[in-house]
Symmetry: C4
Subunit: 327 residues, 4 copies
């Protein structure tokens, strides 16, 4: 591949504002399939309480439930041991004889205190016991307050879940070709003022050094006011496109990556949300058309989400291959 | 109607950024009266926990109350059955003899545990009972935390409730005509930096295929800094307007739809809010004037919300009909 | 005053995007001193639950406290009456003989249930009583959840409290005059990207009808990146200003109002906030200078908030009065 | 240093929109190392409830914990004294004889009421006692609601923690020099659309008066779409730069300050966040290069946070010193 030609033609167009280093070498992709960045952080990262909060907010519900349950058991065990040390004779209603039974009495007294259920069949009978229990109540209330905040935070985080078609295709477009992928809103919320940015990244040889370079791909339409349906995003592969004049092999050989950033306004949460995706060479299909997702039934427009990834193979006009072979 | 003329004159003006497909056919409206999109989603939509939250946040208060009550009864019944299986002899204060009575004892013990009221006239007397009760307490606290978040979420969702006049009218405007509708802030909050976008949509014949096309309508004023009063939105039907030169029948016959998108900043919630509306052919009144909503009383400006929809019939200048008939 | 001259010179400059009606007549001010709009809404305003929330969020703390207390008493009285009707003989621990005593027993049982404290010295002894109590618990939890949301909402509402100098002054500025007022951040939060818009409004005679018109006043500086200090906002009264060429009497006589809108980003709440103010004729001081609020002490800049309103009288250059008298 | 030359060359470039006063004299820095402004506010600042909230939200966790604990003790002591005055004979289960014991009985009854644990081994036995306890319950619930809000507020405050390299360096850049510092995202959240503004501030002599002036420094790149890695911010010291033509001594001698403002969008919190920093003369290193923080391991890009501050001394091209000496 004539990397110099790319360099000369597009050196002015190259993007300097992406935030990825040119020093990225090898075939690493920049953005993982789930939208996270392919960067590992090491060293004295200051893991502070805000990072703990972020983890608790973003982890799965199963994991979150287990952590809450373990904490509940751990804190109750901790206080049970304190009550045990103070002596179960100062705990009204505790009849346990053996240590395990006494521990269980203390454990359930603690649980009833921490959760503020306080049946009263177990109750503190001296001042030390009452004092520790009062402190535990306070902790319980604060812990509960924390849980309230965490649960609210988990739920109320707007999350644009833009679904991307599994493949990016080269399809006939107008009199030439188009690079196309398809997106759909995976949530039932409405996305407003949706904007797309698509970036093509390749490794180029420059004075013997392989360097990763990034180029903006112009889109037929980069913004939609509403986004209730599917959106087939098209980069026309015309003479202005950096992709024009190359064959399938050349596009594939260049360790290419297509990075996509979606920005939208979520109506339910009244907040701006972002979504990212990237396609690499084995996601590219040469010569295909997406199957329409929208049909008409009883006066409604119907959007079939199942068809998002569906395409059918098609012939491509020969122009691009020819031009490329004369290169 | 001379669709080709429309096509030729306005092909450059057509909007490509609306997010509706050209393939929309038939007389379906794009936006329903309540501002939702007239699109039905089918297929493997991933209904996840965030969508459940959205439903709970946006459903009516009556429905929300019933769901909460049913959950409370369901969960208590579930735990009541567990306590029943553990045996009511391990529940201090439960005197029920028959199964139903025993179930009710267990049910109310569960209710007192889940809500952490814990009177104590019913209390667990063995460790299994205590363990299940402790777990139920924890669930109760988390459920309560959830309810807190949901209630806060329901209340704190900013919701611009822009009220639209029932009709869109053709009224005398300056030396010609104007397409007008009227809006007012339906909430007591203040809307700041309010912006409007009005789109005219028609079905046109194109090479035998009926296609829906969208055109921006220029407004006399598309943004107001403050919005404490009513706002009569005017599209002047002058020579630059796509609507000029057509009679009532032609405008009506084209399965037209006028889509409106309102964007504003809600001062109380400090968030950007959106509102949508659409008018279809039977909402159009030819030859009318809106009755003023603002009057002066004791040095105050008074806004009469009752008058929002009121108009009075009026004569229109003849110019537009003539021009149309000479077409 | 030569209103026609104003009309001719500035008809193009007039603001159409303010959202106030031209039909505002008389000497009503548009914006009250507290930043609210001087508009009264009447008619079928749909007072819905969101408006109730808004009221509860924005009312004073004293009023909020009283409403919460009254609700607590009201709801407990309501449930007390139900328990009374079910019979205090089904309430363990209730020893009241007379109706008032029985009511108080029921009232405090209700209070202990609603707040989930549930001491247990009062407890339900039949299933009806238990059922109502269980329902009251649920209500109590939800009410508490509501209170949590309201309190959080009250606290977390960002509120730019921009303090405005009591007076707006005409001061010497460069080689001419300037219309000046002074603002300072009244909160301890940081305001970032603070923007100002100043509008001059007068009543003009137009074909016998008095109409209120609005004009933008150009500012020496309309935006500051940071706002840690005081900001003296200056409109230079030069030949480009709509105010040039008028005497004090003419400016005063025109039932003028100067409207100010401040937009800023609040760092603590991470939200955009707005503030409004207006000056009317009796706030204008002719010939004065603001006393500096910033001084240097021990290497710190010190901002004296007490000096915000302070000015000292000064001589004005004669130019403007002369020009006006030759008019 | 030729201050007049600076004045003449850059009078048009000077920033008027920073919000700092020109009257700032002496060597005070404008922005402290932690990003706060070096301004002290005195006078009748209206410390209102929102400012109290802000303090509680922004103080350290340790301090917050102690305040909560003290409040808990204080309020319980207050109610304990009321119960004591009402008489412990009306408190079932209180067996204390001496005043201290009676106080402790009342204190723990209060704690059990405030926290709604309500074991019931202590319970009110007359109506006055019940009434005060009911009121305390209500207070407890509201206090808890408050704590919930505060804890949520503390956690959910987005806080961009941009880490700045300890030094700002003059390094070789292209064919000349560059002023460089390095930043990295100190949190695990993603920052999107990160923008930088860098301002150079010096004291200049103007008609015998020392005045602080502010100049914008043009950056090689002022915005990055993503910010997953380190970002070396470069101001090229070329002929267009206000810094060109000066030696180390001149730059140092001018009581210079370099102010940095970072704006970004935090993906987890879906909010815009700001960060500030400033460098003063003793932070400047003349002739150095930053050690790269990014390396490649097993197909991942690895970011070593430990290397943020690391630089190595290097030779500088002579051009700038020469030009300066010929000045």
């Amino acid at each position: 591949m004539n990397f110099n030609r790319i360099k000369n033609r597009f050196s002015k167009d190259e993007l300097h504002d992406l935030g990825f280093s040119e020093k990225l070498t090898g075939s690493n992709r920049s953005i993982n399939n789930d939208g996270s960045f392919n960067v590992k952080r090491v060293g004295s990262s200051t893991t502070n309480i805000q990072d703990v909060y972020n983890s608790l907010i973003t982890m799965s519900w199963g994991k979150f439930g287990i952590i809450v349950l373990l904490w509940f058991i751990l804190i109750n065990s901790f206080f049970a041991i304190i009550y045990l040390m103070l002596g179960t004779e100062y705990l009204n209603g505790a009849h346990g004889r053996e240590v395990l039974e006494q521990f269980l009495d203390c454990f359930f007294f603690s649980a009833q205190t921490l959760s503020t259920v306080g049946y009263g069949h177990l109750s503190p009978s001296n001042y030390w016991m009452s004092g520790v229990a009062a402190f535990e109540c306070l902790l319980g209330l604060l812990g509960f307050a924390l849980a309230t905040g965490l649960l609210y935070g988990r739920f109320s985080r707007p999350g644009a879940k833009v679904l991307f078609s599994k493949n990016i295709i080269i399809a006939p477009y107008k009199d030439g070709l188009g690079l196309m992928f398809r997106i759909v809103n995976g949530r039932k919320t409405q996305l407003i003022e949706t904007e797309l940015k698509v970036i093509y990244s390749i490794m180029v040889d420059e004075e013997g050094r392989k360097i990763r370079r990034y180029f903006d791909l112009k889109l037929e339409r980069a913004k939609v006011s509403f986004f209730p349906m599917s959106w087939t995003v098209v980069h026309p592969v015309d003479e202005k496109s950096i992709l024009s004049g190359y064959t399938q092999e050349q596009l594939l050989g260049a360790e290419m990556e297509i990075l996509i950033s979606v920005k939208a306004f979520d109506e339910i949460y009244s907040q701006t949300v972002y979504s990212r995706h990237s396609y690499v060479h084995h996601d590219l299909v040469w010569g295909a058309r997406f199957v329409p997702m929208i049909s008409q039934q009883n006066g409604h427009s119907v959007l079939s989400l199942d068809l998002l990834h569906e395409y059918e193979k098609t012939e491509l006009p020969q122009l691009i291959i020819e031009e490329a072979s004369s290169d």
